[in-house]
């Protein structure tokens, strides 16, 4: 809010008139970023203080805090106004983004104060994702740092179009124009190719307030506006109604059988009752019958409004789909190119399955190709196998079902996504879609007349996938072999996919790095799916050490019965048996990345069938699996009556 005097309100014909004026103010969302100790939090504290937005009790607390934790000597340490977490005040750094609100006579502002440390880059990106403008601070003494470049690059990647380069602590270089010009020139060269609309350099001293709210005499050579004057007047000409209509469906409102409305927020464009609209994924067309709100129906609605739309026809629409303009439709594809910023503590592994989430849609997806990592200093593209925490990459994404989207450059709301780890539910990446891949456009599903159930029916069985996981030498293949013999003898159509055998052929090109192990499992899962589709009972015998890939395999099978069978043999027993002499070699260091020795095995938390080989004989295990199959009616009517195999 903005501080006003009682007289100001009287002069403005009372409260309602004053508030009406407030309502018409425009809103600027910006963030402060840059390297550690460049004065980001201090600057925001100073802006709030100058705008007289610090209440008396807050000021008293601030003076108290400044004495205890402050880094500004006897002066007030304005950073403590925004560094709201205990750890932040103790360490004198910013860890997470803080949001602050203030207003002037001309404009309202939402400020995101973001951390400078590289390890908290994801929090900087969080602040940048909703901002129109970025203030990049640099310390006039230190000039442009690695983090200055990183934050500038991320700002450009996230579609921020206006940059203010605030050359701070100008008092510490004697208000030198030469020092300022040198940094401004270097920065101009740096940002040349990053596609910003405006880059404006301003000298300031956040601590003493020079050129923050008002111009400073000590900076007589600076002719431009003060920082606040600039923020009040910069034109944020974001694209508006000329963009095509996009309505991501959030929720279906269905209070009774007579009403079916699609609730959501208009992502771009506008729509009016009577307009033709199309369901993005199916292409089904309809007409807009009503725009419903609790305050009465509307004739039209535009970008930013949260409304409920009723269509004239009964068409199938659910959350994750989009209602769009028929003449300018979004892409609908399951393969696309994107830029991503990686936030995960564990690295991005191509081939590993993640949940991909757009504003309202969610599908399993994987990175099908990591085209490049972007070097933060040179902005050059380099080849890479994985992306580590805070790295930026160019990737190709494959989703399990098509999603509707626009390129991020055209629409931030419909062109963005995040990746979520399937095990920890952590948000591990943020993506900006560049364009759909041609393959997706040109490869269509071939409709086939003979389907999975027809193929299974002729074999008198239902397909299933039995996924054996466990350490090398745990006994997976032994059990799978015996089970297949029994199934075969009973007339079942089966196939075993065995880890070692597949690596001699289909997966001959793969090694044992984490990325290759993930790809190894992905290929086998896809193969198992084809075989199940052909009506077979598939036995997969693979170490498959990672939970994420086993979860991926389960999801991939869809309706097909899937059992995760954990062949649980302690490492010492496997190593003692060592049927192939592999443990001995691994212990001598002759095999790198051997599961259980140099590479982890993530045991299943809740396997469908848990075989403890120390406690039971292989035949018991087989009986348990047979029961599981019979319970799911997999082996046909001959099985259901308990007749066994």
């Amino acid at each position: 809010m903005e501080h006003v005097s009682p007289r100001a309100i009287e002069q403005r014909d009372g409260v309602r008139a004053y508030l009406a004026g407030q309502e018409r103010k425009s809103l600027l969302r910006f963030l402060t970023c840059g390297s550690v100790d460049d004065g980001k939090s201090t600057l925001i504290g100073r802006l709030l203080f100058d705008a007289r937005l610090i209440f008396e009790d807050q000021l008293a607390a601030l003076e108290n805090d400044s004495r205890r934790h402050g880094t500004a000597g006897d002066d007030i340490d304005f950073a403590l106004l925004v560094d709201g977490l205990e750890a932040e005040r103790e360490q004198g750094i910013t860890i997470d983004v803080a949001y602050r609100f203030f207003a002037t006579e001309r404009r309202k502002f939402i400020v995101a104060d973001t951390p400078g440390h590289e390890q908290y880059t994801r929090n900087m990106a969080t602040g940048a994702s909703t901002a129109d403008l970025a203030i990049v601070l640099v310390d006039a003494r230190a000039g442009i740092m690695r983090q200055t470049r990183r934050h500038t690059f991320i700002a450009s990647l996230l579609g921020i179009r206006h940059i203010v380069l605030a050359v701070n602590k100008i008092d510490l270089v004697d208000f030198s124009k030469t020092a300022f010009d040198a940094i401004a020139d270097e920065y101009a060269a740096l940002t040349d190719d990053l596609g910003f609309e405006t880059v404006t350099a301003l000298p300031i001293s956040a601590r003493y307030g020079d050129n923050v709210s008002a111009p400073s005499e000590r900076l007589g050579w600076h002719e431009g506006p003060s920082l606040l004057q600039y923020l009040e007047t910069v034109a944020i000409d974001a694209p508006s109604d000329e963009r095509p209509f996009r309505f991501p469906v959030q929720y279906v409102v269905r209070p009774n059988l007579d009403f079916r409305g699609f609730a959501g927020t208009i992502a771009s464009g506008s729509v009016a009752v009577g307009d033709a609209v199309v369901v993005a994924k199916s292409g089904r067309a309809s007409t807009l019958a009503r725009i419903v709100t609790r305050d009465g129906d509307l004739d039209s609605a535009r970008q930013g409004q949260a409304v409920t739309l009723v269509l004239a026809d009964e068409v199938e629409v659910s959350r994750g789909n989009m209602l769009v303009a028929p003449t300018a439709r979004p892409h609908v594809a399951d393969r696309f190119a994107a830029n991503i910023v990686w936030f995960g503590e564990s690295a991005l592994v191509p081939g590993r399955s993640y949940f991909l989430r757009t504003e309202t849609d969610e599908v399993p997806a994987h990175v099908s190709a990591l085209k490049a990592r972007v070097d933060i200093n040179s902005f050059a593209r380099q080849p890479a196998k994985t992306l580590a925490l805070n790295e930026v990459g160019v990737v190709e994404i494959a989703t399990q079902a098509p999603v509707a989207f626009d390129p991020y450059g055209e629409n931030r709301a419909t062109g963005a996504f995040v990746l979520i780890d399937r095990m920890t539910n952590a948000t591990v990446g943020a993506g900006m879609i560049a364009y759909p891949l041609r393959r997706a456009d040109n490869i269509h599903w071939q409709g086939l007349d003979v389907d999975a159930s027809a193929r299974a029916a002729i074999k008198g069985q239902k397909p299933a996938v039995l996924w054996f996981t466990g350490l090398s030498g745990s006994g997976k293949s032994t059990i799978a072999n015996r089970l297949e013999r029994k199934l075969h003898a009973a007339g079942r159509h089966t196939y075993i996919l065995d880890g070692d055998n597949i690596r001699h052929g289909l997966n001959r090109d793969l090694g044992f790095s984490e990325a290759d192990r993930v790809e190894n499992i992905r290929r086998v899962a896809e193969t198992a799916k084809l075989m199940a589709d052909a009506g077979l009972i598939v036995l997969v015998s693979f170490i498959s050490p990672f939970r994420a890939e086993r979860a991926m395999a389960r999801t991939l099978m869809g309706e097909v019965a899937f059992a995760e069978i954990f062949v649980d043999t302690p490492l010492e027993d496997c190593a003692a048996r060592d049927p192939k002499g592999l443990y001995a070699k691994a212990r001598k260091g002759e095999i790198l990345n051997f599961t259980g020795i140099g590479s982890p095995y993530e045991a299943p938390d809740a396997p469908d069938i848990h075989i403890r080989t120390q406690e039971s004989r292989p035949d018991d295990a087989i009986t348990e699996i047979e029961r599981w199959l019979a319970a799911r009616d997999v082996s046909g009517q001959h099985f259901g009556d308990g007749g066994g195999i």
Partner: protein, 307 residues
């Protein structure tokens, strides 16, 4: 030289805040299996209730409303709560920490810190666990307090309801990660980006009913520890020398009456309240004893599961 803001030219500031909050309500209803709205009867809850009614119209909000009653709320708050539930027909759950009641926990003998912990924080955890709610709406705003300013709109809580401020999920664009494992939950704050002024302005614009205690009236108060405490019932034992006097006061925030300071005021209409607010020189939390207990006390309470 500016004015044409992208696509928003006809949306006012309050329109934008309203749309954002409605979007958040719908996102939760669409993705969680058992959400609940914390209804604390104050002005922020009144705004939240109003927004929830809008978000699902013509359907009703598809979740219940939970009031954690410390048994020390102003009597007018309880009367107002029951009237709203009856008028709007929403599903109201009231939870009281019966262990605390048995032990006679109260803000006067045990102090604000113990009382708040047992009757609010622990009580809230009890209610959330008992009903297995996986998402809970709260009315907190980022402008209220420094640690609130750091919190996400969708704020992840572990199975013990704890907040880990150093390890929050990145929250990019309007894409909210709503995935939780069994036992874990998300606190959701649809009013994150509202200021106190926005709240009042919206109440004025939408004519939202609020508890009468927000309006100035003659009330019996005593001065205690530099605050004006209203004598709402006989449980407030008077200290030597304390004599309740009728004074024209109102409340900027509402909580447990022995912990909530009134302010001198002549504002008997919404316009007058907003007028007073605009020239206020102290923050609204100043009237709350519970936030003064110790430095960083809000963050500490939040890490323990407080809203």
């Amino acid at each position: 030289m500016l004015q044409k803001l992208g696509g928003y030219d006809t949306l006012t500031h309050l329109d934008r805040l309203e749309a954002e909050a409605i979007h958040i309500f719908r996102e939760v209803a669409a993705t969680f299996s058992k959400p609940v709205m914390l209804y604390s009867v104050g002005k922020d809850s009144a705004v939240m209730l109003h927004l929830a009614m809008k978000a699902f119209y013509p359907a009703r909000p598809p979740f219940p409303f939970l009031h954690v009653d410390t048994t020390w709320k102003f009597r007018e708050m309880i009367a107002f709560r029951d009237r709203m539930a009856a008028e709007l027909g929403f599903d109201l759950l009231v939870h009281v920490n019966q262990d605390g009641v048995r032990e006679g926990i109260n803000p006067i003998d045990h102090g604000s810190s113990v009382h708040t912990n047992i009757m609010k924080t622990v009580a809230l955890r009890q209610a959330l666990d008992a009903h297995k709610f996986d998402a809970a709406f709260g009315g907190a705003r980022r402008d209220e307090e420094k640690s609130r300013a750091k919190e996400r709109v969708f704020s992840f809580r572990n199975a013990q309801h704890g907040w880990d401020p150093k390890n929050q999920r990145p929250e990019m664009w309007k894409i909210y990660n709503t995935r939780v494992s069994p036992g874990e939950s998300i606190r959701v704050f649809p009013l994150s980006n509202w200021t106190e002024l926005d709240i009042w302005q919206y109440i004025l614009r939408e004519d939202i009913p609020i508890v009468p205690l927000y309006f100035a009236a003659p009330r019996p108060v005593v001065e205690r520890d530099g605050m004006l405490i209203m004598v709402d019932d006989a449980r407030l034992k008077l200290r030597p020398g304390e004599v309740p006097r009728q004074r024209m006061v109102r409340f900027r925030t509402l909580g447990c009456y022995p912990l909530t300071g009134a302010i001198d005021s002549q504002a008997t209409s919404l316009e007058e309240i907003v007028g007073e607010m605009l020239v206020a020189r102290t923050s609204e939390r100043q009237g709350r004893l519970i936030d003064r207990d110790e430095a960083g006390s809000m963050e500490k309470k939040k890490r323990e599961g407080y809203f």
